[in-house]
């Protein structure tokens, strides 16, 4: 079967050819409706629509970025990106993944745009430097600004993948030497979906693509053009530690008894209350965990200007960073100076804890 036939074959026909039945598609649709926070009753409708769907062309441009977003997406599941590439989308241009290079790659891009004019999805990762005529990031001698303007013109929609593409991200951090901006600052007149995160949760991209393919439209977005299903609530609201916040039970230092019992990490600088993302529910690394479950506060990486928003360990309410630094110094001194010094350090730490309030062990 050649590429043209693959593009026109429906997903149902393709699955049947591979020996998969309706249950496979339903299984997949249940997973995607669950991820998209759609009612489970929508799953049979999505499965029916997907069965009739044909593959969509996706053109992916990488600008001022670290390739972390692509690395993460390549390791995604539900569905895995390779199954997305082969089953639902035709990834017609992606510089890091494609075999072609140089002039052949440039030709591939021109051909993909011409063949799918007005129909392809344009995915962008990385910010766009606009200072000094955009000279700080070029591909094939063309600036990112120039390429974005040209390729976005004929796109059906633009997906800004990662915090850099969405808001400028780390390249935009003070003093922003390259004049980095996000896609939304430059593209107008096209539907734009921001999928922020450093890196973004891979299942969000899968969800957006599957929603577009099965319902023919992009999912509902919030005022920052993020899919509501994934960014409609804060990490804090979905966090399993949230009940402890409501009870006023806070870990005072990393790995204290409270932290280990699941108490809230707010006082250790967690940015969950002001960060909109789906980490707490979709999780990372094959659903294994997410930062807060692993004992570290949220950095707020999916919010604009997160890098310039104060210290990662400074509580949102202000005040001092956590006591772990003092405890760590105390432990180091203890190792170096012997058991007696260590005991003294622990004594000082205990004294400091008493000044700050009772420890979780001491709380009735």
């Amino acid at each position: 079967m050649d590429d043209r036939e693959t593009m026109t074959e429906t997903l149902c026909a393709m699955l049947a050819r591979r020996g998969f039945g309706r249950r496979s598609l339903l299984q997949f649709a249940i997973a995607m409706t669950s991820s998209l926070a759609l009612p489970p009753s929508v799953a049979p409708v999505m499965a029916a629509n997907l069965a009739k769907a044909k593959r969509r062309s996706v053109i992916w441009l990488s600008f001022q970025e670290c390739t972390g977003c692509l690395e993460t997406l390549l390791r995604s599941s539900s569905p895995t990106i390779d199954s997305l590439i082969f089953d639902f989308i035709s990834l017609d241009y992606q510089e890091a993944l494609m075999a072609a290079a140089g002039d052949a790659a440039e030709r591939t891009l021109r051909e993909a745009v011409a063949a799918n004019k007005g129909q392809y999805l344009l995915a962008i990762d990385g910010s766009i430097p606009i200072k000094d005529g955009g000279v700080y990031s070029l591909t094939g001698g063309r600036s990112n600004v120039e390429m974005l303007a040209e390729i976005a013109t004929n796109a059906r929609a633009v997906l800004a993948i990662g915090t850099c593409a969405a808001y400028g991200g780390i390249p935009k951090a003070y003093p922003n030497p390259t004049g980095a901006v996000g896609v939304d600052d430059l593209v107008s007149g096209k539907p734009i979906v921001n999928i922020p995160g450093c890196p973004p949760v891979p299942e969000v991209l899968s969800g957006v693509l599957v929603h577009f393919i099965s319902f023919g439209r992009l999912p509902d977005l919030d005022d920052r053009k993020r899919p509501l299903a994934y960014f409609g609530t804060t990490i804090h609201d979905q966090c399993y530690r949230r009940p402890f916040y409501d009870q006023g039970k806070f870990a005072k230092s990393f790995d204290d008894a409270g932290a280990r019992q699941g108490w809230c990490l707010f006082e250790l600088g967690c940015k969950g209350p002001t960060t909109h993302n789906a980490c707490a529910s979709l999780k990372w690394n094959g659903g294994a965990s997410f930062p807060i479950e692993s004992g570290h506060g949220c950095l707020g990486c999916s919010e604009p200007d997160f890098w310039d928003a104060g210290g990662f360990y400074t509580p949102l309410a202000g005040g001092s960073p956590p006591g772990w630094r003092n405890a760590g110094i105390a432990a180091a001194v203890g190792v170096a100076a012997g058991a007696a010094a260590a005991l003294a350090a622990r004594g000082r730490a205990a004294s400091a804890r008493h000044k700050a309030g009772p420890s979780p062990e001491e709380t009735p």
Binding site: A16, F20, G21, R22, R23, S24, L25, L26, Q27, F28, I30, A31, T33, S34, S35, A37, P40, S41, P44, S77, S78, P79, T80, D237, Q238, C239, Y240, R241, R242, P243, F244, A257, R260, Q261, G262, A278, A280, S281, L282, G286, G287, S289, E293
Partner: protein
């Protein structure tokens, strides 16, 4: 270090139990199946509280399609705990289904028709496979 004395998701589990009870009433009165998605709820990582509340029933169905899924009835007849995994084993959906038989277990008419067409040739196909092995 002691174990949890309070499971943080107990309040949420109370709400879920009430929702499941409501779905059961609808199933009994109108024959209408329903479900509720667990994977995106802020339950404790192990989901132990809910699991303990619902318990284990008599039937478990193993589905091996695009990935492996388990559909097991809880100790409450008609309440099914369904877990779908992808082909790498990662859980991609987890839901409580309230139905006489979960929708995905029923065979689809088109799949049945395709199987019906294949069936007469099944003995020949098996013979060919045996010869290949021999």
């Amino acid at each position: 270090m002691t174990d949890f004395t309070y499971l943080p998701d107990e309040g949420l589990v109370d709400a879920l139990i009430m929702e499941i009870a409501d779905l059961l009433r609808r199933l009994i009165e109108h024959g209408e199946a329903g479900s509720t998605v667990l994977l995106r709820l802020p339950l404790s990582p192990s989901r132990l509280t809910l699991d303990h509340c619902l318990g284990q029933g008599e039937i478990a169905v193993l589905l091996d399609a695009a990935g492996r899924s388990t559909i097991r009835e809880t100790s409450f007849p008609g309440v099914w705990w369904t877990t779908h995994a992808d082909d790498t084993g990662r859980v991609i959906a987890m839901l409580i289904e309230v139905a006489f038989v979960p929708h995905i277990v029923r065979a689809d008419i088109d799949d049945v028709a395709r199987g019906c067409q294949r069936l007469p040739g099944a003995t020949n196909a098996a013979r060919r496979a045996r010869r290949t092995v021999a």
